[in-house]
Symmetry: C3
Subunit: 381 residues, 3 copies
């Protein structure tokens, strides 16, 4: 059980909060590349309202939402003349927040040199736009394999979730829920299994061992700080096959919008060897943009008599409450991954408070050529 | 006029509030029997979220909503294996909150014996499910005639009301509104009448005397603690007939959902004598379940040029505000029923605070064979 | 930049607030005449809920919303017997708040003489209903030309805006936004221009000088305390013509509903000389009543590739936030109108606090025959 103060410690994401400051030391996806079109895109991330755009020279800009002049939203601005121009009185900003024009100011005014609009960094990789809201110098944007590998096909998907991000990542370090929340006709034949979460360079290495059809299998995947996991699916027909709709390697990000909402980004990569796809991957939904979901509304799947596989995690997570009050939880032996996650968060928050980088931040280009994390299913006996 | 503290005293229903603790000493309807189907039913009552279900042995269970493990809502659980199983990690609860299974715990773990999930009592009578949220020992579930009489037909109806329950029960001890709020072409011919509310064993005996068509009639009905009333309608064509759509005996419950919402349950009973119905009763709407209404949205009846009879009370009650601020009220001679109601509430609250039962609680089975309350219309001259 | 306390000073409108008390010294439109029909009309103005009606003798009444008896909304009352009768228990109020009947009170009761329901004043002019919520004696209802002139045609329009009124009136003293917010294919050929706001008897005389098609034009219009402006449009084809849909004289009122909503009333007047209309005016929309708009939802105009002219101000104003936090503003040389507006508000608020009338209040009938304010476009060279 956590006290109210401890619960706040892990769940609050705004500027100046312990976890919020720590999270600001990482790059987070904020949009699909396809969402950047001919109008600025308003987003909310880590409790801050921002506007994302590509200027007329093709550069990505990420500015605080409201105009420094008189507060009108820059989401209604015009992308022109080398920047983003506020619709109200024509102030023109470049992607770094410099004010290029202040129409109507006297010719000798130095006001526009003296003022600077708050701007953040944005970069693109693998069909996602990433944002960095922390202090300079920014670390490197990690080149995770699903984003950076070249010989293959990639699919993306993004949707909102209507609860605090931390209960989402507690789910992803908790392999024990697979048998229950995602139950199928086969899962009752699994034994209860055992999870073995261990710290590794970027977060947590999860091993989930269970007996299926008279063999023991170890399912291995990764939780990557601060909000990601990397998993892979076995092929259809495999004994541990589990209603997966695809068999590529998948990375998922849970990006806090504010304390009670998150964006869930998924990228799947399927290698192509000698012109042949190695895995079947999901459909790319980039053109749908960030799909809004509604709290408490889930798709039903008549074929299994329960909620559809793609909404089951949201059923469990949202119904814990907008911000789950861990003052009533009772952690058990099966929650060792959750306990380790909280330890890593605490260490990372304290690292930031002491002026150091949190776990997994990359600043050495040599380490960032390709971050390869290989999820797998091993037969133990 | 009431001070803000006095207003809170009568209107707050959550755990630990004066009225909330008093209300917890009674059984309240929480659902229609027909609503209990093959999925658990989520409800909110007295400011608490609960889940109602029938286990695979047919027993009713009423548990606090969120799983004791990690807080996922049990409304998404599975009724199986002698209890309700949380969808997230498979913890299995019986109807009394005992934990039958904790999958994945070590074989020698005693955790499931040491933990108990908060559970309340539920009973069924007359097509309603009743809940008791108070301390042990629970009193008897009162066998009011409309619920327990056998030779006859019964109809039920349930809907939500979007305001505090107390302004609803002030309405039911206030016969004076009948002539005005429920006006018809005939009511202007009534004189102003006089109400005479008197305490009786279970609450308030209301007498409303008025002159109609040159005769004086006394309309007699009952307010039953804590939220009910028992009324009857005269037959169509009777001089005091009042647009009633039925002529059976009717009991109504106003069950607080929280401080600003209530559930309104209606049960009508019509005796059948020698195979002939004595009264025409309303249509049974059990299959519709608890009908959600919307604040400020009322059905209009063109035939009377005003709101439909069934929504008129909700017009008056909801428009007093979500919680009527009685700091601006001006009670008059006609409000003696309201004043008596508040006195009975105060006495009952103080009784509970002093360790005694509030008014009308029944613990003697001999008194509970059948609680017969006979509403009637008497000709006085 | 304003401190939080300074921001409150200008933006709060409820009873007892500095600006709220000042605003209560003026008449404000509250409805279109056409909206007063056979049912009472509920409105909210300056943070107070009221009900507007015409009694069965044709007199306008404006009463505080909730019945003095037990708080049911008088919007559901009946207009009859010389007043407005509450639907719940039949208390009958006249337009001045006197209680004409209290059905059921003993014959010798003096309660209805001793109690008085809060009532405000209402008057009609030019197709609008005006309300006065301040202390007696009320000033005169100003006979602005668009309301009181006779030889001509008049059109009216009313809609809600979903933000604080003060950012709306800051917009109306800020001519500098015309070139940018209302940009057309022609506005880029204007020079930046210069505004010259000056105090005058009723508020601010705005002069906006800019070079268009090689000539300098001075556009002259008026801000009228406390929330109005008076403008005129040039005829179609004029060099400074600016997508105006009409060419009459226009007055606009922004009436606070509460701190985060306003009603925007527009009246246009086009003189008719010798039977010929001098100006083309907009369509009268009185029959639509007060049109509700939705925060953040604006009509798009494909012909200009941006929001429709009629919604552009709402785009700029609402997106400043429900109550714009001026703690982040940076006023420039172009904001001299905004600065003067705040000075006049401060002077008017202090005048009221010192027992004097605020700017522009009229008590001398000789001054109120017709208040003629002539907006115009002058060629300077």
């Amino acid at each position: 059980m956590l006290s109210a103060a401890e619960n706040d410690f892990y769940t609050q994401v705004g500027p100046g909060t312990p976890a919020g400051e720590m999270l600001r030391r990482y790059w987070h996806p904020i949009a699909l590349s396809n969402e950047i079109r001919n109008r600025p895109l308003r987003r909310r991330i880590l409790g801050e309202d921002v506007v994302l755009f590509r200027d007329d020279r093709g550069r990505l800009g990420l500015l605080v939402l409201r105009c420094s002049h008189r507060g009108t939203s820059l989401e209604f601005g015009h992308m022109e003349d080398g920047g983003l121009r506020c619709c109200y009185h024509g102030w023109l900003y470049d992607i770094e927040g410099r004010i290029l024009e202040m129409p109507g100011e006297p010719p000798d005014s130095t006001f526009k040199q003296r003022l600077r609009h708050p701007a953040y960094k944005a970069q693109e990789l693998g069909g996602l736009i990433f944002a960095y809201l922390g202090p300079d110098p920014a670390p490197l944007l990690p080149r995770y394999d699903v984003l950076a590998r070249e010989e293959g096909v990639r699919a993306r998907r993004a949707r909102t979730v209507n609860c605090n991000f931390f209960q989402m990542i507690e789910n992803s370090v908790d392999q024990n829920h697979l048998k229950w929340l995602h139950r199928t006709a086969k899962t009752p034949t699994w034994d209860d299994g055992e999870i073995n979460p261990q710290p590794f360079e970027y977060g947590i290495l999860n091993t989930y061992t269970r007996r299926v059809a008279n063999k023991r299998y170890a399912h291995i995947n990764y939780f990557v700080m601060p909000t990601m996991n990397k998993t892979g699916n076995v092929e259809e027909g495999h004994p541990t096959e589990h209603r997966a709709s695809s068999s590529g390697e998948v990375m998922r990000w849970r990006v806090p919008v504010d304390d009670t909402h998150a964006m869930h980004f998924t990228v799947e990569f399927g290698a192509v060897v000698d012109g042949q796809p190695v895995a079947r991957i999901m459909k790319d939904d980039s053109d749908q943009g960030l799909v809004e979901t509604e709290f408490g509304v889930y798709r039903w799947d008549d074929s299994i008599g329960w909620f559809a596989r793609g909404d089951q995690d949201r059923v469990a997570q949202e119904s814990q409450g907008a911000i789950y009050d861990r003052g009533t939880e009772h952690l058990a032996y099966t929650d060792r991954g959750v306990i380790l996650l909280r330890r890593l968060y605490k260490e990372s928050i304290e690292a930031v408070q002491n002026g150091r980088d949190p776990i997994g931040v990359i600043r050495d280009p040599a380490k960032n050529k390709l971050i390869r994390l290989i999820p797998r299913e091993e037969v133990l006996d």
